[in-house]
């Protein structure tokens, strides 16, 4: 597929948002490895976070092939303000309820996005989306079960979960923040649905689940903040410092 420069740039930007979402969330959740609430869940959560890093790597490689860059450079060689993950991923790991709440919101958003991208006219993107959907389906099931169990347990578990959803609410839809070159991508069939349409689809899924469980659902009417993918927090700055620590310590070295 021949891509004009503006379309290629827009595609690279879209792919970078996909990569950074998976990368940053995969990093936060990898902090559970070794200290998750139960050994069985520890092993499961490690698999999930490894899947995300694996997906991030695949997306970064695709970006790199378009921009003549390198996947590790993209992952570890950028300043904090150059990352393009949604504000939903700005928050630290926090507690298990927060992790479950964010996962629930994100996995549904990612599912809506991947379903659409599986029909992309840009075949390298469509192929990866198809492959990732298989793994992400299990993530979604896993965390939706957790959401139900914590909600139905009542008491402290339910309170923590509701508080996490309240706190994440304003950032939940930032996964669907408009992209600069979005119109061109939709027109070329690279992005089969506008992000706003995907957002509606996502709301139709998470809303009823929250309602049925008596949990706070994300606000469907709220306008998306303009800095949904550019806002950076102190928490992310800390993570960025950690994840680049070794890579930065010896510039141009091979690790």
């Amino acid at each position: 597929m021949d891509l004009s420069t503006p379309v290629r740039d827009a595609l690279a930007e879209l792919l970078l948002t996909l990569a950074d979402d998976e990368f940053v969330l995969g990093y936060w959740d990898s902090e559970w490895t070794g200290i998750a609430p139960m050994l069985e869940e520890d092993v499961a959560m490690s698999s999930v976070s490894q899947d995300e890093i694996g997906h991030a790597r695949a997306w970064y490689e695709l970006v790199a092939s378009l921009t003549d860059d390198d996947a590790d450079r993209l992952a570890y060689g950028r300043a904090p303000e150059e990352y393009r993950h949604a504000a939903l991923m700005n928050h630290a790991r926090t507690d298990w309820a927060f992790t479950v709440a964010r996962r629930f919101l994100y996995e549904h958003a990612d599912a809506a996005r991947l379903e659409s991208l599986a029909r992309s006219s840009y075949s390298p993107l469509a192929e990866l989306a198809v492959k990732m959907r298989r793994e992400e389906t299990y993530h979604l099931m896993h965390f939706e079960i957790w959401l139900r169990r914590l909600a139905e347990a009542g008491g402290e578990a339910r309170e923590r979960l509701a508080a996490a959803l309240e706190r994440l609410g304003p950032d939940a839809a930032t996964v669907f923040s408009p992209l600069a070159g979005e119109a061109a991508l939709v027109e070329a069939g690279i992005l089969p649905d506008p992000l706003d349409a995907l957002r509606s689809r996502w709301l139709e899924r998470v809303g009823p689940v929250c309602e049925a469980l008596g949990l706070p659902a994300p606000d469907g009417a709220a306008a998306l903040p303009p800095d949904g993918r550019t806002r950076r927090t102190d928490e992310f700055a800390w993570l960025h410092g950690e994840l680049t620590m070794v890579a930065r310590s010896e510039e141009a070295a091979t690790w």
Binding site: G34, V43, A75, W96, L150, V246
Partner: protein, 306 residues
């Protein structure tokens, strides 16, 4: 048969190379020795997660990040498998965790030390795991069959860790001067604990675990085996081993080395290592922080008061 005859028959069976299954009758002292051995092994896997976990956020490439997270995940999985083996011997998992966190039970010496650089990640995965696998391979012959079977799975995964560790070390040794110095500095710090890891020489004739074939090789045998395989490999990469007395004695057919610091080993495994209390405290805190999850899902824990 009366109890004494049963006991005699049991020991004749295991000493003759026979295997024991979880639901077989076993004498109390065999069960107690076995539980103590497996419980410490499980504790070591669980505590062994922490030093490397410190680098999960800092792995410098996507490939290393995946390999390290996967390795630490394996160790958690090993802890889970081994706690199950121990649980079948009659001690609930919650009780084992409570005893570990209260400092009543032990974990291996190497997990009481700090990690200081990415070089430690390579040295731990390569050499600490190598020293461990030498012991663990010998446990595949354990008289307790469920333990022996578990060790087969664990040994296979550990061999993958060793390849990852060697690759990290090799990459650093082929890198910049600072990277080479990083590995050498890590090896200098880890060599002492590595030499202590298999424990002091014991008299095989009085070692119950050995007589009952819970384990199949004695401490010095394991250390010699480790040295025979790994000294040449360490030197081959251009590293220096920080023991001027280390040499292979052809006449005696064994490695000579500076006597390891056994006082340090005793002190470290009884909770006085440089990181013993911090690591236990970290585990206690993480466990307390997630208690509400377990309470919500499986109900409040029932553990005898410490």
């Amino acid at each position: 048969m009366n109890d004494q005859a049963l006991t005699d028959a049991f020991y004749a069976h295991v000493m003759g190379g026979g295997k024991v299954e979880a639901d077989d009758w076993m004498p109390d002292d065999y069960r107690a020795a076995l539980l103590k051995f497996v419980e410490m092994h499980a504790n070591s896997e669980l505590m062994g997660v922490l030093p490397e976990r410190e680098w999960i956020l800092r792995a410098p490439t996507l490939r290393r990040k995946l390999a390290l997270t996967s390795k630490v995940q394996d160790e958690v999985g090993h802890a889970q498998l081994l706690y199950r083996v121990a649980e079948d011997l009659g001690k609930p998992r919650e009780q084992m965790l409570a005893d570990l966190l209260a400092g009543k039970t032990k974990f291996h010496n190497v997990f009481h030390y700090p990690t200081r650089s990415w070089g430690d990640v390579g040295i731990i995965a390569w050499l600490v795991d190598a020293a461990a696998i030498v012991s663990q391979q010998a446990l595949r012959d354990s008289s307790y069959a469920p333990y022996a079977r578990t060790m087969k799975k664990i040994c296979w995964e550990e061999s993958v860790h060793i390849m990852h560790g060697r690759d990290v070390v090799l990459t650093l040794m082929n890198g910049t001067d600072a990277q080479r110095a990083m590995v050498q500095e890590a090896l200098d710090r880890w060599w002492g604990p590595l030499m202590q890891m298999h424990g002091p020489k014991t008299d095989p004739a009085t070692d119950r675990d050995l007589i009952w074939k819970i384990k199949s090789k004695h401490n010095e045998q394991l250390r010699q085996e480790f040295l025979s395989i790994y000294v040449p490999r360490i030197l081959e990469l251009g590293l220096t081993i920080p023991d001027p007395a280390l040499r292979y004695d052809q006449a005696e057919g064994r490695w000579q080395y500076t006597e390891p610091d056994w006082d340090e080993l005793r002190s470290v495994v009884t909770g006085h290592g440089p990181m013993s209390q911090q690591r236990l405290e970290f585990r206690r805190t993480s466990r307390d922080d997630t208690q509400w999850v377990r309470d919500a899902i499986i109900g409040p824990a029932t553990v005898a008061a410490a």
